[in-house]
Subunit: 123 residues, 2 copies
Amino acid sequence: MTGSVQRRQAGTSERYDVFHTDCPARGVVDHVTSRWGIWVLISLRSNDLRFYELRDSIHGISEKMLAQTLRTLVQDGLVWREVEPTTPPQVTYGLSEFGREVGGPLRELFDGITRRLSPRSAG
Amino acid sequence: MTGSVQRRQAGTSERYDVFHTDCPARGVVDHVTSRWGIWVLISLRSNDLRFYELRDSIHGISEKMLAQTLRTLVQDGLVWREVEPTTPPQVTYGLSEFGREVGGPLRELFDGITRRLSPRSAG
DNA sequence: CAGGATCCTATCCGATACTG
DNA sequence: CAGTATCGGATAGGATCCTG
């Protein structure tokens, strides 16, 4: 978090990427690729969902982690949150444009891996 | 890891994705999106790299985590490993076709986030 | 150079209990 | 329904030392 030294020797042709070390994207990438973040984002790609729908959709997630993950993603501007002040309360989550932009690659990633792991069950 | 119950009620139109719960892709996705996995894969996209080059490229990674991450990615078939039996030994890593297939979305993901976080420094 | 083995700590995360 | 607060076990991961 503190090291800001980039090994960029101006003039030397950089043989490998150096820009992904302490750039601000690091934090967001960590959130997006967190244990549950990726599944939340993928789940919300199809349609907006309420809290319990997300919980049921993402098998194995605890309420705590879902809430925590959602909070982070909302803070990062990837997910919006809409509260309906009814009784009982009703909270819906959905992807912002940024979230949709990020969800695409995530989906590709997941599909690519799934396709590779079960090439026969493609039907 | 153990829960194999899918909430797939045949006949009910599934309102949200249910397939990403205990499918085999889960493990690989976890490895790919692990704290260091994503950076290893992105780094190797430009060119094959040796151990110490990867370590220098991915600022902040420890040798332990680099070795561990590489081992996992090799096991998953995303990265190949080539040992040159010289003195001192020389080990090179690179992306398999599967790795390249996965690295694309990862790169898009990273680029999208970077672009969004610094829209002015696009030049 | 490219790791393996060990130790130790920070954090992740699930379980539980409680709130509006 | 949609969370928050707290506790405690599991694990990720850094530091250090050692090897071929």
